[in-house]
Amino acid sequence: MSSSISSKDITYIALFTSLTTVFSIIPPIPMPVVPVPLTLQTLGLMLAGLVLGPRLALLSMALYLLIALVGFPVLPGARSGLAVFAGPTGGFLLGFLPGAFVTGWMAKRSAQLAQGARSGAQIFAGNLTAAILGGALTVYAVGVPWLAIISNIPMSEAVLAVAIFMPGDVIKALIAAFVATRVAQLMPTAGDR
């Protein structure tokens, strides 16, 4: 696998990892609908999946977690990666790995299934589905059990605990899908689909 990664792949991976880092360390941004400013960290994940495709997005997020683990302050709050991995929210971070892959895979699938040129709305719909299923739900699928186990609570309570974040994630998925669609229209030869 390693031999098939080109220098262009490496630059894409590094760019999206650094993009996710920037999104994580800038102050939270006011969002439409949701009353609280949100961090854009998840947007980094979703955009990586939508633009890079499953393989490169997974590698990009793996690199992000590796850099966090090594000790660079690339997580929101600029805090230590190891402490986050050891805590109740570690699963949500680890979930970035399958999350990126699923997002990329689903986006690629909807492009393949379409058989021919898609309208902007169709591309958006495909991206949105991918971002929600991959960028949000897959991450929860790893984060919620992790939280439940660490906190000795049943899964239902763990799900309830994170429910408050779901509207924010849906908004982020909408934004990510919109941005990825716009950029795909502006730059048809970009990325690794």
């Binding site: 220098s7 630059t11 590094a14 760019l15 993009l19 000795n152 609570i153």
Partner: protein, 208 residues
């Protein structure tokens, strides 16, 4: 923030624990973390938490406001989770979870405080070498991607600020999508130039 590898954002200081290799510490941490998660007894967990606090303190030096500041986010998370558990499952469970989380976090913080970034990088390199020999990863490419990411973070931060200012100057509000489209477009354009620069310079020894 200084993103050079020898930068000083790392809080690691010399201590009795810094002589242990990063790999050993991480392994021990994983074993301990698993143990803490499996135990449910408040007494044992409480003692573990206390012990880990002691370890952290002995490694970190006096726990001044700087150290607490790093921990504030974690403290908030712990408080929220423990309160939630207490509300739904009662005080006993809340205590178990509190002690467990404290044990986990102090252990992790102790490792962080005694392991400078360079040690961690060495551990990563050591872990990647056998994987490289088996053909699973190419450690040279990982190192390049790693270095390139660190190199790009300040560049991308500046790019973000530039876009924000440009949009503000045009009177466009700081709506996320208005900032993100140019951010993503410019990011992708960089990729092609950087790939050329790497191709022009890299030789087979970099990617063997």
């Amino acid at each position: 923030m200084n993103w050079g590898v020898d930068s000083d954002f790392s809080s690691a200081q010399a201590s009795w624990l810094s002589h242990w290799s990063a790999g050993t510490k991480l392994l021990i941490l994983v074993v301990m973390a698993s143990t803490f998660v499996l135990i449910n007894h408040p007494l044992w967990l409480g003692l573990s938490a206390l012990f880990m606090l002691g370890v952290w303190r002995s490694v970190n030096g006096p726990v001044n406001w700087q150290a607490w500041r790093r921990v504030i986010w974690l403290a908030v998370t712990v408080t929220v989770v423990v309160s939630y558990v207490g509300f739904f499952s009662g005080v006993d469970q809340a205590l178990v979870v509190l002690f467990r989380l404290l044990a986990l976090l102090f252990a992790a913080l102790a490792v962080v405080a005694s392991t400078p970034v360079t040690d961690m990088m060495a551990a990563v390199q050591a872990a990647l070498t056998p994987l490289g020999r088996w053909g699973w990863v190419n450690p040279a490419k990982v190192a390049l991607a790693f270095g390139l990411t660190l190199r790009l973070i300040p560049v991308m931060l500046e790019q973000w600020q530039e876009i924000r200012q440009a949009q503000a100057a045009r009177g466009i509000s700081a709506a996320p999508h208005a900032l993100l489209v140019p951010m993503l477009a410019r990011t992708i354009r960089r990729a092609d130039e950087l790939a050329e620069a790497i191709d022009a310079r890299a030789d087979s020894a970099d990617f063997r």
